[in-house]
């Protein structure tokens, strides 16, 4: 869809003159990105083979010490499991709801605009603000449940491991379902009307049309949205940091938080860097897997086009 038409290609002479001058335009972006993106990425791998407390000047090479410490720590499989659980469950909650809401919002009725305006407010709030709000709202003594006298709402939401996981998944959905609905709304609006008209001539009902036309046509939107959800839950930090700080115990200690706590609370930058490398590898593996699944995504089509 974004392939460059060959006819617009300039002649050899102008191309050489033009590209040299043009290449300079990319230099500022490249410098900043290399300095604070590429070098840190290589740096994190390098730091995972060192010992550093994060405070002093001396960083010493220590081989695989950090790696063996991290890999033999039962905290790692636990953090991986918690991350995976949040990823999978929040995907399971968000995807069907976002598709249904997106399809509904893609209709043309006027009041749906009003719905949309209100819907997207959670997208504007910072994760810190959302976490603080829910912390107050769910407080067993002073929160909504106690105030309304509703017993099922009056639980130690953030004090019980299972409940706390549920709360995190709920808040993630609260925060991001609007965004994904917006993606699906856009996807549904791109489906040609003629497909539905043809199906109607064949007497297909609403449910039939949904499963035979809408859902298959949304394939790429589903892949894009799922990629964002999966990568997003991998780097979920702000919300959990403010809401539970990984607790109770280590019940919500996801990989990104594990990295932070090892690095900045236990002052073990080597092991923290090893966790960061694992984070990068898991992220890349997931992105590649999802791309394989769809055969294409925004990034892949760009690669073909460029």
């Amino acid at each position: 869809m974004v392939t460059v038409p060959p006819r617009g290609r300039p002649s050899a002479a102008t191309r050489v003159r033009g590209s040299g001058a043009l290449a300079w335009l990319a230099v500022p972006a490249l410098l900043v990105f290399v300095g604070f993106g590429v070098i840190p990425l290589l740096g994190v791998l390098a730091l995972s083979f060192t010992t550093w407390d994060g405070l002093s000047q001396d960083i010493t090479f220590s081989g695989f010490t950090s790696w063996s410490a991290v890999l033999s720590d039962p905290g790692l499989p636990h953090a991986l499991w918690v991350t995976f659980l949040i990823m999978a469950l929040s995907w399971l909650v968000q995807t069907p709801a976002s598709i249904l809401i997106g399809v509904f919002l893609a209709g043309r009725q006027r009041y749906r605009t009003l719905l949309a305006v209100l819907y997207f407010i959670p997208l504007l709030l910072s994760s810190a603000a959302i976490a603080i709000t829910y912390k107050a709202l769910l407080d067993p003594n002073f929160g909504l449940g106690a105030g309304l006298g509703l017993d099922f709402l009056t639980q130690d939401w953030l004090g019980d491991g299972t409940l706390a996981m549920g709360v995190v998944i709920f808040i993630v959905s609260w925060q991001f379902i609007p965004f994904h609905s917006l993606l699906y709304q856009g996807g549904v609006r791109q489906i040609p009307r003629s497909m539905y008209e043809a199906a109607e001539l064949d007497g297909a009902g609403r449910v039939r049309k949904f499963f035979s036309i809408t859902l298959p046509q949304l394939k790429y939107t589903i892949i894009t949205s799922s990629t964002l959800m999966v990568v997003g839950s991998l780097t979920l930090f702000d919300l959990i940091f403010v809401l539970t700080a990984g607790g109770p115990g280590d019940a919500t200690r996801v990989l990104a938080l594990d990295m932070y706590k090892r690095g900045y609370q236990a002052n073990l930058m080597g092991p923290a860097s090893a966790i960061a490398v694992i984070l990068v590898l898991v992220g890349l593996a997931l992105a590649l897997f999802l791309r394989r699944l769809g055969g294409r995504d925004a990034g892949a089509s760009q690669l073909e086009g460029a």
């Binding site: 740096g43 819907y119 702000d238 860097s273």
Partner: protein
């Protein structure tokens, strides 16, 4: 949009106008989608409503009153406390970081995107583009420890510039991708005629490509501004002193300090969200398209 934002959902008037405007009579009602959408709306609205009304309650009445009832005697004391707790300073810090990051990030990204589109055969630019695309697939948060080290070595630790530099870098991959998509849509003939008129690439960039893709530039700027405004990880790692706090960090420490004063904590939530909410009311379309920029295309 200012009025619709404050409208209560479920007003029959809007429902009627919706029915009247229905232009596709063949469409049967989507009950399931409709029900879920309205339920979800309630789930979204209830906490927000609660935050707003509670922020106007006094601490003493908060524990006694019905949490869903509006305050009997609304008070601004909570807001006064928040403002006196240096929030204007944190607001300015956030503003400096957001503007200081977004302007260079979008300018650099635009220049790079222009070069990548215009000289798509250039080998150097192809590798640059590839590098940025890889940046999209990698969770950049994983790079914060080396960034922390670099910032210390540059003697920038605990400064606003420490937040600005990595924020620019993090914004570049997606900005380049989206802007390049839009520059590609500019008809080739326009570039060609500029070239025939003897215009330099610099002139073509600023006089032709930039004005023609202005909506995309605005969209990308808003998206980045929102990400940076709400950012938490970089401030928590790269700053330390209270006078360098940005709003999300200030919220967090205010909450730690006044955890028993729930109305004041919620007033701080409202105050820090207000600037974005105003932006949302003014530029809703740009903002929403900004949020999905690059993903829908």
């Amino acid at each position: 949009m200012a009025t619709t934002l404050t409208d209560k959902p479920g007003r029959t008037a809007t429902g009627h106008s919706g029915r009247r405007r229905r232009t596709t009579p063949r469409e049967s009602k989507n009950w399931l989608g409709g029900t879920i959408s309205w339920i979800w709306l309630a789930i979204v609205i209830v906490p927000i409503y609660w935050v707003v009304i509670t922020s106007f309650k006094s601490q003493s009445t908060y524990y006694l009153s019905n949490p869903m009832a509006p305050p009997v005697e609304p008070t601004l004391d909570n807001y006064r406390l928040v403002i006196e707790s240096d929030f204007p300073l944190y607001f300015i810090n956030s503003l400096i970081v957001a503007i200081g990051s977004v302007v260079p990030a979008v300018l650099f990204s635009f220049m790079a995107a222009y070069a990548i589109v215009r000289a798509s055969q250039n080998r150097f630019l192809r590798s640059v583009n590839w590098l940025f695309l890889m940046g999209l697939a990698i969770p950049l948060q994983a790079t914060v420890i080396p960034i922390y080290l670099i910032i210390i070595r540059l003697h920038l630790y605990d400064s606003l510039l420490a937040l600005i530099l990595p924020s620019i870098a993090f914004a570049i991959p997606l900005s380049v991708l989206v802007l390049a998509n839009f520059i590609r849509d500019v008809p080739k003939e326009l570039f060609e005629s500029m070239r025939l008129d003897g215009a330099s690439e610099q002139t073509t960039l600023w006089r032709l490509a930039f004005p023609l893709t202005r909506p995309a530039v605005v969209t990308v700027s808003i998206y980045n501004a929102l990400q940076i405004w709400n950012g938490f990880l970089l401030p928590v790692i790269l700053t330390q002193s209270p006078d360098k706090r940005t709003l999300p960090l200030a919220l967090w420490s205010f909450q730690g300090e006044y955890s028993v004063n729930v109305p004041a904590v919620l007033a701080s939530v409202v105050l820090t969200t207000l600037p974005i909410l105003i932006l949302y009311v003014v530029g809703r379309r740009q903002l929403l398209s900004g949020l999905t920029a690059g993903f829908g295309k």
